[in-house]
């Protein structure tokens, strides 16, 4: 076991930021093309979160520009990584001056035992992009932020102290602004490879515009082109609320931590106070079924008792399904509006009931589109907490579900013009990688996706069949008449007698 290769003093704990700095490959920053894509994505997602959090329809303007370096470059395809300036502007509520360096310059996680859906699952995204920019260019980061009602905005120039997970302020100034304006601009420099990431970044904006059809986005790219994606629906999805954890799927470690932080003195009041969907009567019934004393002091419980309680929590069937108030699904209107961007003939969308995975509620929304301008191949669009997932599609749980669908059951075929949509929203998406590329094969998640897509397919199959039926009926009648006209004429000639259709089908 663990060979003693280091003397004791060399072995220390690292800060999370330092750890990630050493292992940034696993967060997606593994080559200049991928790093550029991941940086754009993380910051756009932060901006969308900020706007939605403030309850405003998002307007996000991204500008990515090639930084001309001293050494003049040859024309044509650039040879390797180059330096780019990345500027992201949003109309969110802005950040208070005193919060800004801390929020952007450190990697943080909430300790509160509450759940709420957000895009930045690991609490790292934006900060890691800034870290990557600093590591590769050594240039400082500029933040300009202003809040509604204030007459000035703040411009902050800072660096990151990676080892200590702390921001270092370099420069600061105030600038006048219109009190009605609000929002944040982030500008920084980073290494990247636009030539090899252009297709992916463009696809990211297009798919984002499908799942966030209420946002207006503008992307000015290094080739001098502008991708303009105006909103197609003027409706924000309902915002998520914070919620306590659901009792199902809690593990003992978490239970212990919750007990430690709780001020309740009895097991019953602890259950009522710390979990969602547990009221007086539910707590009593559960404790009775688990043969636990409602008046026992939680902090005094033995380890064996805790394990026992966890197992009972896991299997007790009397809890209500977890509340979805901490979730913010896209909603059927929004999802449909987004899918309509592809101009299909039919769209069916479905929202599943909330379900729970390791104590985290999640909702799966599915959609299937057919015909119109879709290509005659099956295509899958995957979204998680309103983020499009572009990499590693084959490994994603949704791909597995789709591979096992039997389209024939719905009167459809593999080469029909079909597009599938899966949106999973959760307080914690079960990603397989920090790079948020694909969702793991969790049984309960797979089941929800499966049922959702099948429900869509049933309805879609009906629509397609109905349409085909009407079409067929019309054609059938005109063809029948045509055939008998031909029969009558041919028979007439062959038998030298008049053959009339009047008695058969009128004139």
């Amino acid at each position: 076991m663990q060979s003693l290769r280091h003397s004791d003093s060399d072995v220390v704990e690292l800060s999370v930021s330092a750890w990630f700095y050493r292992n940034r490959t696993i967060a997606g920053f593994d080559n200049p093309a991928r790093s550029l894509y991941v940086s754009v994505r993380e910051l756009v997602e932060n901006s969308l979160d900020a706007c939605e959090g403030a309850g405003v329809l998002p307007e996000v303007h991204v500008s990515l520009q090639h930084l001309k370096t001293d050494s003049s470059e040859a024309e044509g395809m650039p040879k390797g990584p180059q330096v780019f300036g990345l500027r992201i502007q949003d109309n969110g509520s802005g950040i208070r001056r005193e919060d800004a360096p801390r929020l952007l310059g450190r990697m943080l996680t909430s300790t509160r035992f509450t759940l709420k859906q957000s895009r930045g699952t690991f609490g790292l995204g934006g900060s890691l992009a800034l870290l990557y920019g600093q590591v590769t260019t050594q240039r400082p980061i500029e933040i300009t932020t202003g809040r509604s009602g204030e007459e000035s905005k703040h411009k902050i120039v800072m660096r990151l102290d990676i080892e200590n997970n702390e921001p270092i302020l370099v420069h600061e100034e105030q600038q006048p602004k219109n009190p009605e304006d609000h929002g944040t601009i982030i500008e920084f420099y980073l290494q990247g490879d636009w030539f090899r990431s252009k297709r992916r970044i463009t696809e990211y904006f297009l798919q984002t515009s499908m799942i966030v059809p209420y946002a207006s986005m503008l992307f000015d790219n290094p080739d001098g082109e502008s991708l303009r994606l105006p909103r197609v629906i003027e409706k924000l999805p309902q915002q998520p609320m914070e919620a306590k954890p659901h009792p199902r799927g809690i593990d003992v470690e978490m239970l212990k931590r919750m007990i430690k932080e709780s001020r309740r003195s009895t097991l019953k009041s602890f259950l009522r106070g710390s979990f969602q969907r547990v009221g007086e009567s539910t707590a009593e019934k559960f404790l009775a079924s688990a043969a636990l004393d409602p008046a026992a002091a939680p902090k005094a419980m033995s380890n064996e008792n805790l394990v026992h309680m966890m197992k009972k929590l896991e299997t007790y069937s009397g809890f209500l399904a977890p509340s979805s108030k901490s979730l913010s699904p896209a909603g059927l209107d929004v999802l449909k509006a987004g899918i309509r961007r592809l101009k299909p003939e039919f769209v069916v969308v479905r929202q599943r009931q909330p379900s729970v995975y390791e104590g985290h509620p999640f909702i799966v929304e599915t959609g299937v589109a057919y015909g119109g301008e879709l290509m005659p191949v099956m295509k899958l669009y995957r979204f998680a907490n309103r983020i499009p997932l572009l990499y590693d599609e084959r490994t994603d749980v949704s791909s597995q579900v789709i591979r096992e669908l039997n389209l024939k059951n719905y009167g459809l075929r593999q080469d029909d013009p079909l597009a599938f949509f899966v949106h999973i929203c959760s307080t914690k998406i079960p990603y397989k990688t920090v790079g948020k590329e694909f969702i793991g094969d969790i049984d309960v998640v797979r089941r929800e996706i499966d049922l959702g897509l099948k429900d869509c397919l049933r309805r879609l199959g009906e629509s397609v069949r109905r349409k085909r039926r009407v079409h067929r009926q019309e054609r059938r009648e005109s063809r029948l008449v045509g055939y008998y006209e031909f029969i009558a004429e041919t028979l007439g000639k062959a038998t030298d007698q008049e053959v009339s259709l009047v008695n058969l089908i009128g004139n």
Binding site: F486, I487, A488, T490, L491, T495, V502, N503, L504
Partner: protein, 380 residues
Amino acid sequence: MRNGCNSATTPEVMSLIDDVLGTLADTINNGEFPEIGYYGSSKKNVEWSDDGYEPVNAVPSFVDGRKVESARTIAGLVYGLTCFKEHLEQNMSMSLRDFYYMHKVKRVQEVLEISGQNETNRLINLCERILKIQGTSVPREEFGVVSSPKGTFYGDVTLSDLSGKQLNCSCAGEYGWFISSKPFDVKIHDINIDAAIFVEKEAMARNLIELKLPETLKVGVGSLFGQPGRNMRAWIRRLADNGVPILVLVDMSPWSLRIFSTIKSNSIELSNIRGLAAPSAKLLGLTTTDFWRKNGMLTAIEHSLENMSKSDLKCAQQNRKIPAINEDPILRKENEALLKKRKKGELEAFKAFGLPLTSLRKLYVDYIKRKSRGFNVKLI
């Protein structure tokens, strides 16, 4: 002299077509949707017996003129029948491909929208099932549709074919007579052979003729050129009906068992066409016992056998589902032996003896005589 077993005369067929067309015209004028019944051929309603495949009583299928696709079928049928009638009137034949092209006539194509020859082939098959005389289907040849003919026959048989001229099959060239497209209508004037040997492969048949077996053994030699065509099978039946013993010489392979069984029993699909089976035909060789029984005549060249390919094996396995093979004790035994040994033999195997040709000739004669004797067919 007309001795085809179930062929109709051309006037009979024409009047039959007129009947069908007239009935359809009346039905439509009466304001009724036409409905046409017929019997299909499938394993369900066909049984194998020693006389070949026979239709058994079964529920007829109906072309129901109220349905769109059926109306299209009736339109095709009416058009096809008028085409046949005209061709018969003009004493002219057509091929399946000709019939397909007749549907490219503009006004026809616009209505029927035929997408390929498969469709028109099916219509011909349907006509065979609908046109019946005394409960028996009229073969397509009788309404002028002729498949590409194949096969030759050499021997002392005098006949007149569609050319109207009389000829002797041993004086029509080195291969003999190229068999008529319509053997039902061939007039046989004189038969002067004791048996007819039909050979799967042309080279073997040629060798037998070159060795003057037809003259010395007083037999006819037919060359099937592989799987025999309808015309060849009808010709074999004509000879059999005239009392000529039919001996068949094929490879020892699952495919050749099918060739023989088609000659002997016809096929399920065509069981409505009588006159394509010759139930008295005998499998002269090559048989598995030739190679694998102790005193078999070909045991010395067992090494010439080739391994059965995947498709050979598949064929043999499917043979088990063909009643004419599986219910025939001899053919079944042959097929099972092949499946067991996984080897096949060919007629050319005789050449693998490495005998001087004079000895080979004797071997051929011995083989044919000995195997014929087994069927009580005695040759000179």
